[in-house]
């Protein structure tokens, strides 16, 4: 197990390095020029060049890339001569747009994305797996058809539509929920758990509507398949209660693909839920990423891309480890 973890995390670091290189390359050779973006509309060509120097973009590609990497192992100096700034480890650079330390920006944005992701994942797992299970148990009956129908509507509703409708109806018109505030980040904060829930609830719902549908589908299909397995017949033949048959024997066996999907979705979501964060004013990673990407803010975009990649890879490893716990046939080595 230890050597397995060691190898997986080693591979993960290597993969991250590749991702960083690709992202850096794409930006460097892409059409957007961060220097002219940082300079604005009334900017002459020589001012663009000055901005290029100020941002360190005048140096050769590999010098820039290794400067970036050096910030990951130790502190780094940034800025023009006469106005150098020390950037403490781990240094991901400073925003081209606002000069904020990117590490701080990420550290500030992450709790919002976490709040959003944790609630949303819980909600869609409970709703999606619950209804998927119910549909599988009532296969072919009215309940099943209703759930399958509703989920196919849910999956086709884009976040901007559900998000805006939820905002308009439950916040704007009915006033049942408050407008999202960026002052509540944690369920353990001053405002308390209840305020945290109400602050993020509609955003969770918007994500859950979209994702639940997929979970309904995958749960239903998997459970129907599992229910037809021989060991499920054995469980019945033992005289077990329906609850035990479904949960202890059925769900345990049918859960693996759901765990996989959950891991991948959670990994992706932690990289930032771009649209949801935009609509519900949640200043998380997705919110920050959009602003950075549209304004050619390379360090911020780099950092968030890397973090998103990290989460995806990390949760992949986590899923593999989870497999070993769920399925005794899987050997981690």
């Amino acid at each position: 197990m230890v050597s397995f973890l060691f190898r997986r995390f080693g591979a993960m670091l290597l993969l991250l390095l590749v991702v960083s290189f690709i992202t850096f390359t794409l930006f460097h050779f892409g059409p957007a020029d961060p220097a002219s973006a940082a300079c604005g509309q009334e900017c002459t060509p020589d001012r663009v060049e000055q901005a290029r120097v100020a941002l360190g973009l005048d140096k050769p590609f590999f010098v820039q890339y290794f400067a970036f990497l050096s910030g990951l192992v130790g502190p780094r100096m940034l800025g023009a001569p006469g106005a150098e700034q020390m950037c403490a480890w781990p240094c991901l650079g400073k925003s081209f747009q606002t000069n904020e330390n990117v590490t701080d920006m990420i550290a500030n944005a992450l709790p919002y994305t976490l709040s959003l992701a944790i609630g949303a994942v819980l909600m869609w797992t409970i709703v999606g797996v619950g209804f998927g299970l119910l549909a599988a148990m009532r296969k072919g009956k009215l309940t099943d058809r209703f759930i399958v129908g509703a989920s196919s509507i849910g999956v086709s509703l884009p976040i901007p539509v559900t998000g805006l409708v939820l905002l308009l109806v439950f916040v704007g018109t009915l006033g049942w929920f408050p407008f999202t505030t960026n002052q509540i980040v944690s369920p353990f904060g001053e405002a308390g758990f209840g305020a945290w829930v109400t602050n993020y609830f509609l955003a969770w719902v918007a994500l859950a509507v979209l994702f639940s549908a997929q979970y309904v589908r995958i749960t239903r299909n998997n459970m129907i398949e599992t229910f037809s397995e021989d060991f499920m017949r054995t469980a019945r033949a033992k005289g077990l209660s329906r609850r035990k048959i479904v949960f202890k024997h059925g769900v345990r066996a049918g859960i693996t693909p759901i765990i996989t999907m959950l891991g991948l979705d959670l990994g992706a979501l932690l990289g930032g839920a771009v649209l949801t964060e935009q609509i519900f004013s949640v200043p998380g990673l997705g919110f920050t990423a959009v602003k950075a990407a549209t304004s050619g803010d390379l360090p911020v975009t780099m950092a968030i891309t890397m973090l998103a990649a990290f989460f995806i890879i990390f949760f992949n490893v986590l899923v593999d480890i989870a497999y070993a716990f769920i399925d005794p046939r899987v050997k981690v080595n």
């Binding site: 054995t234 019945r236 033949a237 005289g239 077990l240 209660s241 329906r242 345990r252 005794p328």
Partner: protein
Amino acid sequence: MEPMLSVKNLTVKFPTDDGMVAALNGMDLTLNRGETVGLVGESGSGKSVTSQAIMGLFKESRAVIDGEITFEGTDLLALSEDAMRPYRGKKIGMIFQDPLSAMHPFYTVGAQIAEAYQVHNKVSKKAARQVAIDMLGRVGIPDPKRRVDNYPHEFSGGMRQRAMIAMALVCEPELLIADEPTTALDVTVQAQILDLISDLQAETNSAVIFVTHDLGVVAQLCKRVVVMYGGQCVEQASVRQIFQRPSHPYTRGLMASMPHLAGDTDRLTPIPGSPPALLALPKGCIFADRCEFAKIVPDGRCLNMRPELIVEDDHAVRCHGHELKLIDETSLIGAGS
């Protein structure tokens, strides 16, 4: 004496996209306490459907069931899913064909046996585990204390089937249904498992329904045989009667296809034709289109009239030809040539 189990005129139909498939078309079966009956037939003849119907495994499914299953005076078909639970495992135990797929892959063998015990007996986890260890020992698993914590995939095929038997017998059921328990095993292991089942039966004195397509196995284990074809019982008799005087043309065909009975392993004689299409059963004898006697029975009776099960000297046969005494023992040779 009232039989322990009686199945009367049982029909089971499954809805499919193409229409209703009739898996059982008036199946009859009786079983006395402590008795071992062999249920024989090709695949698709309704053997497994019969055993699963007795277990009530078609409850809450879309299957349409008619007829009667009486177990110790209780109409099992009338019971709800929940009311059926005390019978399952406790009074009727079941061994399935492929123990690898029939056991849950994520739980240890011991846990699965202990679970089967705990459903019907209020005991602690620890006590149930001890029962599982004992039971594994009884079915001949070496070092059961250690093996109890193994997962099914860590067992060999024969050991798995032993464990499956342990699971089925842990509550000492009055009736054991063994649904082709040796099919998935290799020949040497098959014999061991058969010995085990017959030993345990002798110990516990439970009745056994032994489902198989292999008449040889039946000869070794059972006193009485029920031959099934197209979801019906076509012949029922003691093993001796069946082997000495097989009366239904299908039974004869089965016999002929048995290597050791024909005494000539090079010349197996399969029954020509294929099992009936259960979607559209003929209105006459279900076996008619494969039966070489259908031509000699007058009035095209075999094609137009479903034969009745006629009982004579505890030997029941469903055949117009037999009923009209048109088939004698010598025809067996003809059937096999």
